[in-house]
Each structure stands twice: as structure tokens, then as C-alpha cells.
């Protein structure tokens, strides 16, 4: 069978300064008609450069120095630019990661789609209009005749991605390149978009090249998979083979690094070191430096393609005939030893460290000349939480539900409208800035984006010292507690902190931009630890990181909890992280907690329809298991400025009843620790 797209020996280099970076280095792949081909890899491995090379939309500093990209047998690299324009959008189209940035904000949706149609077809005005309508309906935009005249800002994130898909489909392409199409979206929206893509493919029989770093997404829709590492493909397989038996040590590590429930009481596997610099000349296998199985041969000779089973090929010396049997034995041993390093669960304590009751944070909406208040955005609307020392409470919800606001509210970084926050029995709300100062050392916050959470103009030593200087934590090594730490003691303490988070002490002389994302997040953790807090509020600390780096950070957090007895409030939207790390879970929807309980209770027997939907939206890694009742949510999160009446969830709820539309449900208790707010269950009469 003739492949639709065939890439052979593609080499793309980026000419930056003195050293040129080999972003794509000898890439080969084939995509057949009607299949979804997933290109999987961590950030910086050259996935997007591959996509841009196919489209010939490379940035100016990049150039393709070798190779063929054949679409139906015609080499795209030989086409003149005018002919290439007829290919883009017509035969190959592309959707990008960030739907917010890929639509022109000053053009209506219809006129943006019209541009594509006019470029590739000669259509009469009325036909044009009809075709746009058809496309928008095809991607499931409700009320398309009215919405097509609207501007991008009137659409939500998921809807924008649908519009992007409609635009990509306008030319009836044979190949759709989707570059991280769901990374910027919430799980429930991601599930909708993936459903849509699968559905469209079945109808139009186009091929999809899916570029992603998310194993879950791959498992959901891909037919064949290629794993990319440091500019080249190291393994190709069908989806089934790959998920049943990943061959390359890197692929195996990727699976092992995924947090999940089964690994709860053990450390996650980590890949040592970083992705190698692509400006260097490689000798031998590119993964050898980080590979556990590497031996001399790996460092000297580049491995050839080896076919394990039909369709499953790998570039690794372990699978060459002479090594194969030996490796299988090794692997069996490895698997038994890998779970030895188990952690002891901490003894249970009952006294609450943090007690939040009926916390409300409302932001006023101002209008008019004199800025009178016309309403409130109820970001957090009466939530109650309890965290015990040394335990982890996970706060789960979609973006925009007020999770981060809760974290900042507990830290009193934003004013609390109502309710109480008690830390160790003393009330924190209502204190002045000065009174609060003495308590600040006990609770610290770690932010999501490691790139904006460190001041770029301060050295690491200054960053770490700042909190120590401001809060003067009690240090066991200090002789006189009244005196500030001497600079020598401070430096010792900083070295200790850096070692604790796994960085060398020399790192303190450097500036933040010299570190990678994962290292920066370690520094942010060290900064928080500098004042010996008892509670860490972690605001999505791993969502900006790659899977292998995420595993490192999660391991670090777990170890710190073991050693220092820290309690965590872990704010996240990633269910697998919750499964791995949390003791208790609270599910949040539009400023309120809809269900909370122990992690097993929530994950095994979710009661609230929202929790159920959230859990079923998470892409399953096991490609074979077809879960029976997938309740994918319709619609999106309503605005907290104008929440629906009654139960906030009722517009999206599959089990909606008349009473849901009128009154917010009371608590339903299932066990002393497990409760939810839903009319499907009997209501507690006495509890408020």
C-alpha cells in the first residue's frame, strides 16, 4: 500500500549563533490514509519542528538540509512556493496548541473560514455561506447560524479549538497535523475534542498526524505511534503493541514515570539527566547517557532499526539477536526489584493543622464613572476544608473553578470576603499585615509556572535568603534565638536546602534563567522550605513540566513529606497525580466543593455526577480496555459572575431533576469522611 505521507531522512537545523542545532535529525515515518499517527515525545525533542518542516512553515533561522517529504509520491520539498500554497490548507492542514492565539481577534469566525475557502475553491457567495455553516455544524458548534458572525473573544477555549478544526477541515485535507491540540484544554473539554476528532476521521477518512507528549491522548485516538527522542524516532509500533509492551528503554521509562494509583507507596521511576543538547554530534545511541541498560556498544555504535514483531520496530541494541534473550532475563529481574523502595505511611494524627470554614472570596465588578459595584465574581463561594499534619489534600477541578483563588486565599495573598481560616487553632483572617507576619513562616505556596515564580534579576542565594531574612525561622543550630543568622550560617543553611531538593550547592551563585523548568521548580520548593513551613500549598506545581520531570518533582514532594512531616494542599486538575499523591480529595466546581472524601472513596465510588464525569474524561492509558459508560460532559464551565440557579452543575448534569434547578443541594454523607452535594442521594437534614 502506498503511504499518504512518507518522510525519509529528514534533517532540519536551526542556525543559532555559533552552534547549529539539529532539531530533526534523520527522521523517517510513513502515514497511511485514514489512520491516526501519533508522534510522541517530550518538549524539545523536535516534534513541532517536524510538523513545521512538513508544512514548510519553518522559522527563518531553520532550514531543511536533507531528506524527502513525499505526499502521494510527490516531494513537497521540490515544489515552488506558489504550488506549496495550494498544498497548505487544501491537502495538508494544521491545528495548533493554543486556540487563543491562533485566531485573529478582529475577524469574525465566518470571515476567517471564508479566507480558507476562497483560497482553495471557487464558490459562489451563497454556497460559501452554506459551506461555512456546514463546517461549523460538523464540528459541533451549537446555534451555528448566529455564532458564525461572532468574534473569537465570544467563544470559550474549547469552542475556539472547534473553530480551528473547522478551519482546518475547510479545505477537505487528506492529512491533518494536530500539534498538541488539547494541551491547553481541560480534561472534560479535551475528551470532547478528542471525540470530535475521532468522529471526523471516521466520516472523512483523512489521516491525522497527532503530535503530543500525553500518553493518555495517544491511547485514546492513535492507531500507530512513533516515539521521538532528541531529533529522531526511536520506536514505532501499533497502539496496541506499544501499550502492551513498550520496547525501547525510554518508552518504558515514560510509562514508569506516570503517576498512578498502583505506585502510590513507591517512588516513581525517573530518567536521569536531561534531554541532550541537539547541537552536539552524537556517537552511538542518543539515550545511552540516561539509559539504565546502556553498555559500551550503546556509546559507540548507532543502533539500527530492529523489527520485534511485524509493525513494531525499535532502535536499540538490546533487541539485536545476540542480546535479546539476556535482556529479557534482566528485565524480569528489574521488575521485581523496582518496587523495593517502598515508603512507610506516616502515623495518623487527628488534630487539624488547617481548618477552613465557609471561605468566600468575591471580586467586585465595577462599572460607570464613579466605579460603583454592580455585582460580584464569586470565585470562591463558601468552601470548607480540613488538613491534618503530614497529609495531602488534593483540590481538583477544571480551570476557572476557583482552585487557585482558594490557595491564595488561604495564604491571605488576596483579601478574604467571608469565612474563617484557622491555622493550628489561631484565626488568620482579619489580622493586619504586621500581625500576620509572625505566622507567615508556617504556610508557604509553590506556584504553577516555574518561569515566572523566580525573580530573573536575583541570584539563587538571594532568592533563598529573602524569606529567611524576612521571617527569621527558628533554626536548631542557632545559639541565641534573638539574633539574626550570621551570613555563614545562612550559607550553610542554603547549601543544605539545595541539597535537600537535589541541586548542587554551587547552584546558588547562578541566576534563574540558567536552569531548566524542573530545576526552577526545585528552587521554588527550596525557597518555600527555607522558612520551615508546616503546610505547603502547591498550585499545580507540575502542570508546566514534562512527564519525566513531573515524576522527579512528585518524588521530591513525597520524600519531603516523609522526612519533614509537611502537609500539602495540592491544587491540580491532573487526576493521575491525585491518585498518586493525595490522601484526601476535594472536588471543586464553580467555587464550591461538590464532593470530598478519602482518595479511595472518591476514585472508587464517585458519587457526584461531576466527579464521575471528570474521572471518565481522563484518557485511559490501557488502550485495550474500553470502559463501558463514558459520560462525557456537554458544555463548559459557566461564568462565576452569573452562576446558574440551584445546583451549579445542573446545566451540564445528565441526571438533572426539576429540584436541581431551584435550590442548591444539602450535604449527603456516605461515610464519616465521604460527602457530596447532590439530590441523587438522601440529604442530611441537620447539616448546613
Amino acid at each position: 500500500m502506498m503511504p499518504l505521507l512518507e518522510i525519509a531522512k529528514l534533517k532540519t537545523v536551526l542556525n543559532t549563533g555559533s552552534a547549529s542545532i539539529h532539531a530533526v535529525d534523520g527522521l523517517e515515518l510513513k502515514i497511511f490514509k485514514g489512520e491516526t499517527f501519533a508522534l510522541l515525545g517530550e518538549s524539545g525533542c523536535g516534534k513541532s519542528m517536524t510538523a513545521l518542516s512538513i508544512m514548510r512553515l519553518l522559522p527563518e533561522i531553520a532550514e531543511i538540509i536533507e531528506g524527502h517529504i513525499k505526499l502521494d509520491g510527490n516531494d513537497l520539498l521540490l515544489l515552488p512556493e506558489t504550488d506549496m500554497r495550494k498544498v497548505r490548507g487544501k491537502r495538508i492542514s494544521m491545528i495548533f496548541q493554543e486556540p487563543m492565539l491562533s485566531l485573529n481577534p478582529v475577524m469574525t469566525i465566518a470571515s476567517q473560514i471564508k479566507e480558507v475557502l476562497k483560497q482553495h475553491f471557487i464558490l459562489h457567495h451563497t454556497h460559501l455561506h452554506k459551506r461555512i455553516l456546514e463546517l461549523l455544524q460538523q464540528v459541533g458548534i451549537p446555534d451555528a447560524p448566529r455564532r458564525m458572525a461572532e468574534f473569537p473573544f465570544q467563544f470559550s477555549g474549547g469552542m475556539k479549538q472547534r473553530v480551528m478544526i473547522a478551519m482546518a477541515l475547510a479545505g477537505e485535507p487528506e492529512l491533518l497535523i494536530a500539534d498538541e491540540p488539547t494541551t491547553a484544554l481541560d480534561v472534560t473539554i479535551q475528551a470532547q475534542v478528542l471525540d470530535l476528532m475521532r468522529d471526523l476521521q471516521q466520516r472523512t477518512h483523512m489521516a491525522i498526524l497527532l503530535i503530543t507528549h500525553d500518553l493518555g491522548v495517544v491511547a485514546e485516538i492513535a492507531h500507530r505511534i512513533a516515539v521521538m527522542y532528541a531529533g529522531e524516532i526511536i520506536e514505532t509500533a501499533t497502539c496496541k503493541d506499544f501499550f502492551q509492551q513498550p520496547a525501547h528503554p525510554y518508552s518504558q521509562k515514560l510509562f514508569a514515570a506516570l503517576p498512578e494509583r498502583a505506585k502510590r507507596n513507591q517512588g516513581l521511576a525517573v530518567i536521569n539527566g536531561n534531554v541532550p543538547l541537539l547541537s552536539q554530534v552524537f556517537q552511538g545511541c542518543r539515550f545511552a547517557e540516561r539509559c539504565d541498560h546502556a553498555w559500551e556498544l550503546c556509546r559507540q555504535t548507532v543502533p539500527e532499526w530492529i523489527e520485534i514483531t511485524p509493525g513494531h520496530r525499535v532502535k536499540c541494541h538490546l533487541f539485536s539477536k545476540e542480546n535479546r534473550s539476556e535482556y529479557q532475563v534482566n528485565r524480569a529481574q528489574k521488575q521485581t526489584t523496582s518496587s523495593v523502595e517502598a515508603y512507610q505511611p506516616t502515623p495518623h494524627q487527628d488534630s487539624a493543622l488547617l481548618n477552613v470554614t465557609n471561605l468566600k472570596i468575591h471580586f467586585p465588578i465595577y462599572q460607570g464613572l464613579f466605579k460603583h459595584t454592580v455585582g460580584y465574581v464569586k470565585a470562591v463561594d463558601g468552601i470548607s476544608l480540613t488538613i491534618t499534619p503530614g497529609k495531602t489534600l488534593a483540590l481538583v477541578g477544571e480551570s476557572g473553578c476557583g482552585k487557585t483563588t482558594v490557595g491564595k486565599g488561604i495564604c491571605l495573598l488576596i483579601p478574604v470576603t467571608e469565612g474563617s481560616v484557622q491555622f493550628n487553632g489561631s484565626e488568620l483572617t482579619g489580622l493586619t499585615r504586621h500581625q500576620l507576619r509572625k505566622k507567615r513562616a508556617d504556610f508557604q505556596i509553590i506556584f504553577q509556572d516555574p518561569y515566572s515564580s523566580l525573580n530573573p534579576r536575583m541570584r539563587i542565594i538571594d532568592i533563598l535568603e529573602e524569606g529567611m531574612n524576612a521571617l527569621l525561622p527558628d533554626d536548631p543550630h542557632r545559639i541565641k534565638p534573638e539574633q539574626p543568622l550570621s551570613s555563614y550560617q545562612k550559607e550553610n543553611r542554603i547549601d543544605e536546602l539545595l541539597q535537600r531538593v537535589g541541586l548542587p550547592p554551587e547552584a546558588k551563585w547562578r541566576y534563574p534563567h540558567e536552569f531548566s523548568g524542573g530545576q526552577r521548580q526545585r528552587i521554588a520548593i527550596a525557597r518555600a522550605l527555607a522558612v520551615n513551613p508546616k503546610l505547603l500549598i502547591c498550585d499545580e506545581p507540575t502542570s508546566a513540566l514534562d512527564v519525566s520531570v513531573q515524576a522527579q518533582i512528585l518524588n521530591l514532594l513525597r520524600t519531603l513529606q516523609q522526612n519533614l512531616g509537611l502537609a500539602y494542599l495540592f491544587i491540580t486538575h491532573n487526576i493521575s497525580v491525585v491518585e498518586y499523591l493525595a490522601d484526601e480529595v476535594a472536588v471543586m466546581y464553580l467555587g464550591r466543593i461538590v464532593e470530598k472524601g478519602y482518595v479511595d472513596e472518591i476514585l472508587n465510588t464517585p458519587k457526584h455526577p461531576y466527579t464521575q464525569a471528570l474521572l471518565s474524561s481522563v484518557p485511559a492509558i490501557e488502550a485495550t480496555s474500553n470502559r463501558p459508560n463514558r459520560t462525557h460532559l456537554k458544555g463548559e464551565l459557566p461564568s462565576p459572575a452569573n452562576p446558574p440557579s440551584g445546583c451549579y452543575f445542573h446545566p451540564r448534569c445528565p441526571y438533572v431533576m426539576p429540584i436541581c434547578r431551584n435550590i442548591y443541594p444539602q450535604k449527603s454523607t456516605f461515610s464519616p469522611t465521604h460527602s457530596a452535594h447532590c439530590y441523587l442521594y438522601s440529604q442530611n437534614q441537620n447539616s448546613a
Binding site: G267, Q448, P456, E466, G502, E506, Q519, T559, N563
Partner: protein
């Protein structure tokens, strides 16, 4: 004492500025990490070339700032005390005395031996004729200018260039020896290293710039002893002298105005963005109001008021220069007070963005005081905007001075500045044949000054922005400082696994 030192207001402020710069320099000398970005400035070729040019401008400006009144010879008052001249001179005036005192009758073209206009002269036979008369000083040594002038000028230029080259080679050799001694290598390898551009600081660029300047300087110096290199103006004053004197006025207006404007813009802009609320409202309304008044009108009104005050209190000023100087200072203050709004608005916007950054939130979580957050987190992160604004303002302020002088509210007419020069030249542009050299001289000097400041500021900005770094710098840094600094792209020596170091595991923290 043969002279009586005079410290004018602007002098005092310039001294203060120099002292501050020296103090900061001394402080940075002791803190290597503060010095690092400035070291990177010295690695920029264009920046160092610009700095070499700037050095000469600043030198002239500083020499022109040291003012005094020379004692008058053979005159003493009744009590036997020395009497000092009413004319205040600067050190620079003394150095260029020939340029200052050799005044012709009126216009003469550059390097000319004749006046630019015909004059009626009485011939020895008693008849009158109109002809271009010879200049009193310019080319006065020539017997027959028509024949000798060109060859004389060429000969002097070559001599001057030779002097320049000689001085230059002396500097090159002494610097080469110094660097060789410091780098602990021999003289010749050091030279080859310098000229192949292998040194960290681009010495070859500095040397070439310096060479060009010194050759030019040599030519000008040798020529100016017998010619007016840039011609003379309406009252016969040497244009070269005027251009050199204008440098101080330009530098003073550029620096002092910025200095006066900066506290307003920084304090109010950051406060508005950081505190929000009513503070923001008040500051915003203030600058909106201030910037909606036409600034020329505001400046004119203020300058005229001040002018009236000065004229009604002549007893306050001992000399004309003191009066002109006070007027210059007030011009700086008025320009400063009216021009802070633009930078203030920029800083407010940037601070609004910064205050939401997570590292500011983290600082709040550490209960760090507002003042420390502003000074340690916000100020360093808006400095690049301040730096760019200062440079942009510098050139526009020099130009504004010219415009204001044209309206008649600029510097005192007795003070030499680019503005007054351009203003005077403007009147002669319509004349036939055209008097072009005054304008060209002012333009040329202003252009070189502003261009070199712009280039230098570019280099500073690149060096201070930690994100802009070229690969070559990175490579050179990792090879030079492998001891203390880790190579930036490689992972730290400890494998980045999350397993805690064994010592941390045993040594549980007592919390």
C-alpha cells in the same frame, strides 16, 4: 592665589553626579555579582567603540565644568587684596585660549584666509575698492594664500596626523604591555591576541576607534593654531570653540533633567502600579492633567516668570555666567517636572504587570515589606525601561533645548549651546551665498554625541537583560569560569533524581 574658584549651581550638581557614580562604582567593585553585567558591557564591540567616543565628550564636559575667576594682573584694590576678573572661565577655556580669543570681524568659511563678505577698503593710493579682506588670524602667516593655502593645509594635516599616530602607537604599546603583564604572557603574543579579536574585551575595536579619534584630533589641533577649522560666525567667533563649549550645555541638560525627572517618574509610577486604589487614582489624574497642558506653554510661562525674577534681582549674581547658569538649572528643573509623565505611565503599566507575577506573590507570602518588594523585586525589573527612556529622553531633551531657544525661552542668549548655534545658523540659511558651517558643526557634534550614547545604552541593555545572551558569550563564560560557575547547559553534577541525598535523609529536620 592666581584665581578664585567659582562653583556654579550646575557645577555642584555635576560634581554630585560624578561623586555618586564613583561611589556606586566603588560599591560594585566589592560585589562581584553586581559587576558581572558591567563586565558583559565591556565585551560588546559597538558599546566599547561608543564609550571611547563618549569618553572624549565627557572629558571636555568635565573640564568645562571647573570654573574660576582669574586674578587680574597689576590691579589690586585699596586694601591690597587681589582683584579678580568679572569673567568666569573654565579649565577648558584656558586650554583652548587661542580659539577663544582669536576673534575675526565676521563670517569666514572653514580653513579660509579671507572674510566671507566683501568689504570696502581704502587702498594705499587713497581710492576705495570692495574686496574679500584677509583675516586677522586665520591663515595670517601666508604670504599669498591663493597659492600657498592648499599645500600649507595639506602639510599641516599630515603633520597633525603623524602626531596623532605617534600618540596612538604609544598608547597601544603601553596598553599592550599592561595587558601582557596582567595576562602573564609575552608582549607579542598579546598583540596578536588583541588584533585577532581573541580578547574578552574587544580591544582591537577600542584601539581602532581611538586611532581614528587621535588622528582627527591631531589634524584639528595643528590646523587650529593657524586656521579657523570650522570657520567663524557672525561676530567672528570660532565655530569649533562654540561647538566644543556646547557639549557641556548639552550634557548638563541631558543628565540633570533626567536626574530631576527620574525620582518623580520612578516613585509615582511604581507606587501607582503597585498600590492601585486611591493612590493610583490620584497619580493618574495628576499626570493626565499635567500632560494635557501644552508643554511648550507651560515651560514658556515658567521660564518667563523666572526670567522676570532674575532681571529684577540683578544683585544676586556676581557674574553674567552665574545668571546664565541659574537659568540653565531652572530650565532643567522645568523640563524635568514637565517630562516625567511619559516614563511614569510606562512604569505604572509595567508594575501592574509585575505585581501579579508569581515571585511577587511569593514575596508577599514571606511577609516582605512593601518597600523591600518595590526596591528588590520591582525596581530591578523595570530598570531596562528606565534605561531606554533615559537615552531616548537624552536626545529629545537636547533637541527640545534647541526648540525652546528658538521660541526665546531656552538657555540664556549669552550661553553657548547647540540650540543657540542652530538658532543663529537658521537665520543665515537663506543668505546667498549660504553660511552652512555653523549648522553643520552643530549637527555633526550633536549627531555623534547622541549616536554614541544610543549605542552604549544598547550594549548596557543587552548586558543587563539576563535573557538576551549570545551563544558565543555563553561558551566563553563556561570555558573561563569553570571553577565557580557550572556550564549552564549541562545538568548539575548530581543526577537530577528526586531521591534525597543520603545526608539529608539521616539528618531529619526538627520541625
Amino acid at each position: 592665589m592666581p584665581f578664585d574658584p567659582v562653583i556654579l549651581w550646575t557645577d555642584a550638581l555635576v560634581y554630585l553626579l560624578v561623586a555618586t557614580v564613583l561611589a556606586i562604582g566603588w560599591h560594585m567593585q566589592r560585589h562581584t555579582h553586581l559587576l558581572m553585567p558591567w563586565r558583559r558591557v565591556t565585551h560588546s564591540a559597538s558599546g566599547m567603540a561608543a564609550l571611547t567616543v563618549l569618553f572624549f565628550f565627557i572629558l571636555i564636559g568635565l573640564l568645562d565644568t571647573i570654573h574660576f575667576r582669574p586674578a587680574l594682573d597689576k590691579v589690586s584694590d585699596n586694601s591690597g587684596e587681589k582683584v579678580y576678573s568679572v569673567e568666569v572661565l573654565s579649565l577648558f577655556d584656558i586650554i583652548v585660549t587661542p580659539l577663544r580669543i582669536r576673534v575675526e570681524k565676521t563670517y569666514s568659511a572653514p580653513l579660509s584666509a579671507h572674510l566671507y563678505t566683501k568689504e570696502t577698503v581704502e587702498l594705499p593710493d587713497g581710492s576705495q575698492a570692495r574686496e574679500f579682506t584677509r583675516l586677522t588670524f586665520g591663515g595670517a602667516h601666508l604670504e599669498d594664500p591663493e597659492v600657498q593655502r592648499i599645500s600649507d593645509i595639506t602639510e599641516r594635516s599630515i603633520r597633525g596626523a603623524a602626531w596623532g599616530l605617534l600618540t596612538w602607537s604609544l598608547i597601544v604599546i603601553s596598553l599592550g604591555m599592561l595587558l601582557a603583564k596582567r595576562g602573564k604572557i609575552n608582549f607579542l603574543p598579546m598583540q596578536s591576541k588583541i588584533w585577532s579579536g581573541a580578547t574578552e574585551t574587544p580591544w582591537h575595536v577600542i584601539m581602532i576607534t581611538l586611532g581614528l579619534i587621535l588622528i582627527l584630533l591631531g589634524i584639528v589641533v595643528t590646523l587650529s593654531t593657524h586656521y579657523h577649522v570650522l570657520g567663524t560666525d557672525k561676530v567672528g567667533q570660532d565655530v569649533l570653540y562654540q561647538s566644543l563649549k556646547s557639549i557641556r550645555t548639552g550634557l548638563v541638560i541631558g543628565t540633570l533633567t533626567t536626574l530631576i525627572m527620574l525620582p518623580f517618574a520612578l516613585l509615582l509610577g511604581i507606587a501607582a502600579g503597585y498600590f492601585r486604589g486611591w493612590v493610583d487614582d490620584i497619580i493618574q489624574y495628576t499626570y493626565t492633567t499635567l500632560s494635557s497642558i501644552p508643554s511648550v506653554l507651560l515651560i514658556a510661562a515658567a521660564v518667563l516668570m523666572m526670567q522676570v525674577y532674575i532681571e529684577t534681582h540683578p544683585e544676586m549674581f556676581e557674574t553674567i555666567l552665574a545668571r546664565a547658569d541659574l537659568r540653565l538649572l531652572f530650565l532643567c528643573i522645568i523640563l524635568g517636572i514637565t517630562s516625567w509623565t511619559g516614563l511614569c505611565r510606562l512604569l505604572r503599566g509595567e508594575t501592574l504587570k509585575l505585581r501579579e507575577m508569581e515571585y511577587i506573590q511569593a514575596a508577599h507570602a514571606f511577609a516582605i515589606s512593601h518597600w523591600r518588594i518595590i526596591s528588590r523585586h520591582i525596581l530591578p525589573n523595570v530598570m531596562h525601561i528606565v534605561l531606554i527612556a533615559i537615552v531616548m529622553d537624552f536626545s529629545s531633551l537636547v533637541l527640545a533645548e534647541a526648540v525652546l531657544s528658538y521660541v526665546g525661552v531656552g538657555v540664556d542668549p549669552s550661553m553657548i549651546s547647540f540650540g543657540t548655534m542652530i538658532n543663529a545658523a537658521r537665520l543665515e540659511m537663506a543668505r546667498e551665498p549660504m553660511v552652512w558651517w555653523t549648522l553643520l558643526a552643530a549637527f555633526g557634534f550633536m549627531f555623534v554625541l547622541v549616536l554614541s550614547i544610543n549605542l552604549f545604552a544598547d550594549a548596557v541593555q543587552n548586558a543587563f537583560n539576563p535573557r538576551i545572551k549570545t551563544l558565543s558569550e555563553r561558551a566563553s563564560r563556561s570555558s573561563h569560569r569553570s571553577g565557580k560557575m557550572l556550564p549552564s547547559n549541562l545538568p548539575p553534577s548530581r543526577p537530577a533524581s528526586a531521591a534525597p541525598p543520603p545526608e539529608a535523609k539521616n539528618n531529619k529536620v526538627h520541625s
